[in-house]
Subunit: 136 residues, 2 copies
Amino acid sequence: MERFRDILKASNLKSTHQRLAILECIDTHGHIDIETLFELILQKYPTMSKATLYRNIHDLLAFYILEEVKLPQQKQKYEIKKVPHIHLLCSHCGNVEDIFVETKPLLETIFFQSGFEISSSFIVMNGICKRCSSKK
Amino acid sequence: MERFRDILKASNLKSTHQRLAILECIDTHGHIDIETLFELILQKYPTMSKATLYRNIHDLLAFYILEEVKLPQQKQKYEIKKVPHIHLLCSHCGNVEDIFVETKPLLETIFFQSGFEISSSFIVMNGICKRCSSKK
DNA sequence: CTTCATGCAAATAATTTGCAGTAAG
DNA sequence: CTTACTGCAAATTATTTGCATGAAG
């Protein structure tokens, strides 16, 4: 994936095999936690160390290349930073789906009610996804 | 606080000093993390151990007496379970405010768009609270 | 070449567990 | 009394750091 090289270069970060592997792995897997990520990368790069993984996650977050996703009852996960979206967490199959929805009305209601000026939001919906509910 | 004794009894949990202290502390302090909670309780009960704290937090969560609050860039916090609400996290003063807002329209939009049946939601808004924005 | 990133091992922090003693009901 | 809960210490697990080596540009 050439795009990750560009993204890294833009932040003056070297495009090491390890970093590219981390980014590609998160990209193809979607929301992923440290442990799973580590095991997946080990398969390609048996020498990968956890210290490197932690350091890179930290740096990639700092440069807003990654984003943390804190889901209820779950270990912290990570994803490639993208356009703001809502997380739909299926309590049946465990999958996380992203959805892009207009939230402006809600934000305006909140401002109206409380005077709180919102700059960003983090939203997780728990429930049953379409696939699971149609299987019942 | 007599009400916590009742709540504990309803779940067949004994009303120990430690448990009552944990609940009262979280109740008066609001959203609080393990470390802060531990230090506050130590002042009243110098013998309180962290093992007990962790065990109790775990059990109180399991009985839905407490609720976990995972805020971006912050350590996990806990609060007394209450009516569903939205968290407003002020990036200036760091305070977390709770607000009760009608989210039904948003939930319906999501269902309409994706077929995802929502049972509960977790929402954090980042921004500047009324108090801070009026100080500028 | 020069600088930044990696791997390893060791250090630190966070959380869990086993067990004997203690307190709640 | 009986059972569940606590405190302590030890065990795990998670994360960070120092430093010598190696790779990227």
